[in-house]
């Protein structure tokens, strides 16, 4: 027999070797390139410049390529928007590229629509299905073609537009859930310019944020993160101050020096009360507010607004005095107030405060750079290349109504922004899709919307595609970003403009002559031929950043501003039955849910609650105590439209009559990483819109809470119970 000592020796030895046996040996095969890239040296990384498409901000990126594979994404130091920085969402783009659920070849519907049951087919087979449909309606009724896309910018947008014009159909809808309809309407109302303003946060000494989310999910988070850092620490003797008025304690408000909690939907009123004090006390002698003062601002006293917002009048008086004493001062509004029933009103009030404070065109203020001047050489296409060309929520609603009436025989869904998920059920988008006889989707994944397609053409990832982009914010209106494939196409996929160009060629006639290029790269190179910088050099740098910026756009309404038309936020449900206002916000990592299939972003802790992989409902600790709800308990959130369940997160920064939930979770058909993680808060909403712009109102319902049993638990990184004492916050 072996004794105990020997036995232990051998056990140890076996365990040791088992451990090392587990280490991956050198791979047994070596796979050299088919065609190696130019200037390539084995083992040395190559960096290619391109643009990020993970959110609408349009940052420039550099991608590290090693042996033909994209390994890491960094910010492009030359790009004016992000100056070498990049956020977590941008970093996670790699997972989208290598995602195991990406469509690898065209798919034909094999079951009922929406079932997600598809058979793989080849590209020739797929085009043999699609092209006869297009050819038939083109000769019979070209206007019965609908093209629904997500946000498209640059020449991809030009190709899509020309395709539809050449086809003879005016029915092109480009819809983005994180659209800027309310901001555009507010700019138009106050300044007479329908455009997104440029905010010079970096040079401001004082910043007022009205429900702003510019540090996490707003217009251009990386740009604003950098600008915020410069405002705080970029100057030797000045440390800019940030004051936040909002209805939820967000990451931006956590970074503010002062946080004023206001009732949801009263952010605009708070801005007006500050403007009232500025004019009443003549704090800014140069402020020309005559028409506005008599037009209604006179009545919006701090006392009157105090009752509505829940803040003491002194808050507005003190803020106005600080603002006047710390010029330049800037006011910014965010997604929260923009997605109210009175979103345009809120944003108009903030824009008016900027206008009255004389912030237009000054350093540390706001401006409208003449972006079209940069793009003027593109003539009629300039408008299509510039930011915010999307047709807005109203156009989607009109198209959905017409779908129901049978106006469309073929629908092309071009990487649609998942309207079947990101719209309330009362919008009945899926039901409307059922009235279209043939639906072809071009998308990289099967999701709730593309699962309704009869045919899915797999599209290439943006890291595999040619393109150009024009960032909506963060530069003087003079930066064109170029995109190039940083790796060769990984699966049997094609880019949307290439599919459209090929389809145009096959359909022939005026359509083919409107889109003459053989492929999108050629189209792009032709478009940029003759620019100041050669195309190849611009590709190397990531774009054209050296062009002289144009002058600021003159304000047509510079002489006198008018008061925004008063508008109240509307909330579905009676306060007796549904005592809490529901505050929905885009998740810091998943946004509206488009990134829910990326595990890196699922496991990225929310900056305030540190929760991962699920959604939750934020409740004031006082309210939770009254309802008998403890940290992590299951809670049923019921609105007149529906009920969902989520885990409770007690959040002392939230008003007692408000509960907040992040968007993004609750997918039914978006793969295994997105599926089965919480329930979809969009299903709680009525089909409500902002009165001023028609954009979707996410803050539009009241809810009731009750405790329910919920399987599993919410995983959180922090130790929330240890961070604050409940009795500290209970009056």
């Amino acid at each position: 027999m072996i004794d105990r000592r020997d036995f232990l020796k051998f056990t140890g030895l076996t365990a040791f070797t088992a451990l090392f046996g587990g280490c991956e040996k050198l791979s047994r095969t070596i796979v050299p390139f088919v065609i190696p890239p130019e200037n390539y040296v084995l083992g040395e990384a190559l960096w290619y410049a391109t643009a990020c498409r993970m959110c609408p901000a349009g940052c420039g990126t550099l991608v590290r390529i090693s042996e033909g594979r994209a390994k890491k994404i960094e910010g492009n130091p030359k790009h004016p928007v992000n100056r070498g920085k990049l956020c977590a969402r941008g970093q996670a783009a790699l997972q989208g590229l290598y995602h195991p659920e990406r469509l690898r070849q065209p798919m034909k519907l094999a079951g009922a629509r929406g079932s997600g049951s598809y058979t793989p087919i080849t590209w020739p087979e797929a085009l043999a299905i699609l092209m006869p449909h297009l050819a038939k309606i083109r000769s019979e009724a070209p206007e019965s073609l609908l093209m629904l896309s997500g946000r498209m910018r640059g020449h991809a947008n030009v190709v899509a537009d020309r395709f539809m014009k050449g086809f003879g159909s005016p029915n092109r809808v480009s819809w983005e859930p994180l659209g800027h309809d309310a901001q555009l309407a507010a700019s138009e109302a106050i300044y007479g310019i329908r455009d997104l303003p440029e905010y010079d946060l970096a040079n401001a000494r004082y910043a007022l944020s009205f429900g702003g989310d510019f540090l996490e999910t707003g217009l251009s988070p990386v740009h604003f993160g950098r600008a915020y850092g410069a405002m705080r620490q970029g100057r030797e003797t000045v440390r800019g101050k940030l004051v936040h008025f909002g209805s939820r304690f967000s990451m931006t408000s956590a970074n503010a020096d002062v946080y004023f909690p206001v009732a949801p939907g009263t952010e605009g009123l708070a801005a007006l009360a500050i403007a009232h004090v500025l004019l009443r006390d003549k704090l800014l002698p140069q402020a020309a507010g005559g028409g506005v003062w008599d037009g209604g601002l006179k009545e919006i006293t701090p006392e009157a607004v105090s009752r509505r917002t829940g803040l003491p009048p002194s808050a507005f008086v003190e803020t106005a005095r600080e603002l006047a004493g710390n010029r330049p001062a800037i006011a910014l509004a965010g997604t929260g107030p923009a997605t109210m029933g009175n979103g345009t009103y809120n944003l108009s009030c903030v824009a008016l405060l900027n206008a009255l404070a004389g912030n237009y065109g000054t350093p540390g203020g706001i401006s409208f750079p003449d972006r079209r001047a940069t793009l003027s050489r593109f003539g009629g296409d300039a408008q299509l290349i510039a930011p915010a060309p999307e047709s807005g929520h109203g156009a989607l609603r009109a198209a959905t109504d017409r779908m129901r009436k049978g106006a469309f025989r073929v629908a092309l869904l071009l990487e649609p922004s998942n309207p079947a998920f990101a719209l309330p059920p009362a919008f009945r988008f899926e039901e409307a899709l059922g009235h279209v006889p043939f639906i072809a989707a071009m998308a990289p994944f099967i999701d709730e919307t593309t699962a309704h397609a009869d045919l899915i053409l797999p599209t290439s990832h943006f890291l595999e595609s040619w393109g150009d982009d024009f960032a909506p914010m963060g530069h003087a209106g003079n930066a064109i970003t170029l995109m190039q494939p940083v790796i060769s196409v990984y699966h049997d996929t094609r880019a949307i403009p290439d599919i459209l160009l090929a389809a145009a060629r096959e359909l022939g006639g005026p359509l083919a002559s409107a889109l003459p290029a053989g492929n999108f790269r050629e189209y792009l190179a032709n478009a940029y031929a003759g620019m100041e910088i050669p195309f190849e050099q611009a590709l190397q740098e990531g774009g054209y950043f050296r062009m002289k910026p144009g002058p600021l756009r003159p304000l047509p309404k510079d002489a006198g501003h008018s008061m925004p038309k008063a508008s109240e936020p509307a909330f579905a449900g009676s306060p007796d039955r549904y005592p809490f206002v529901l505050r929905l916000y885009p998740s810091n990592s998943l946004l509206d849910g488009r990134h829910a299939n990326l595990p890196w972003l699922q496991e990225l802790p929310d900056p305030l609650t540190t929760a991962v992989w699920r959604n939750w409902v934020e409740i004031n600790p006082d309210t939770a105590l009254k309802l008998g709800i403890a940290e992590g308990d299951g809670v049923a959130v019921a609105s007149p439209a529906g009920t969902i369940r989520a885990h409770a997160v007690l959040h002392p920064g939230l008003a007692p009559d408000v509960v907040a939930m992040p968007l993004g979770q609750g997918h039914g058909r978006y793969g295994k990483f997105a599926g089965g993680r919480g329930e979809n808060p969009f299903t709680l909403l009525p089909d409500a819109t902002d009165a001023g712009s028609g954009s979707p109102a996410w803050q539009s319902t009241r809810v009731a809470l009750s405790k329910v049993a919920l399987k599993g638990r919410l995983v959180r990184f922090g130790f929330p119970e240890g961070q604050w004492k409940p009795d500290q916050f209970i009056a």
């Binding site: 030895l13 070596i30 050299p32 390139f33 065609i35 190696p36 084995l42």
Partner: protein
């Protein structure tokens, strides 16, 4: 059960864990029969004509399909092995070659340092020029590396190779 048998059982278990089967089989049989003898001894092609990264990179590199086809589009185009490569080129498909020369993961071996210092390729890869089927003839043991490093008076610091 007596002690030697038990020891043998345990040792074989250990061996099975430490040296999983399949290593040996991977050495032989390449996806395309390739003769170094034909290319090097027969036609006098320099090693670095195909292994182009040997002077520039830690890894000497295996030639790309395009590299093979730069000659074989014309030369010996009818050869059945060449046809396999031609088909891969047409389909733009990479060829997965089986690894022949093996070094443990914990050794850093920069080809370009050796080649640029004038160490002939055949010093470490003896007989490759005559090989119809490529095999590793030299065992890359630490003692053998050290002997040469000592003889040439170059670094024998641990971190030179183990990093």
């Amino acid at each position: 059960m007596n002690r030697p048998i038990l020891l043998a059982v345990l040792l074989s278990l250990f061996a099975a864990t430490a040296f999983p089967p399949g290593e040996a089989s991977a050495l032989s049989g390449q996806p395309v029969p390739f003769s170094h003898k034909t290319h090097v001894a027969g036609n006098g092609i320099d090693c670095r004509f195909c292994h182009i990264y040997a002077t520039r990179s830690a890894s000497a590199g295996i030639p790309s399909v395009a590299k093979c086809m730069s000659c074989h589009r014309v030369v010996a185009a009818g050869n059945p092995s060449v046809k396999l490569v031609a088909r891969a080129a047409d389909e733009k498909r990479a060829i997965a070659w089986n690894r022949v020369a093996k070094l443990p993961d914990h050794v850093y071996f920069p080809h370009h340092k050796m080649v640029n210092a004038g160490v002939p390729c055949l010093f470490c890869h003896p007989g490759v020029d005559q090989a119809v089927e490529t095999v590793q003839k030299r065992a890359f043991t630490m003692g053998w590396c050290m002997a040469c490093h000592r003889q040439r008076g170059v670094s024998i610091d641990c971190w030179t190779c183990h990093k």
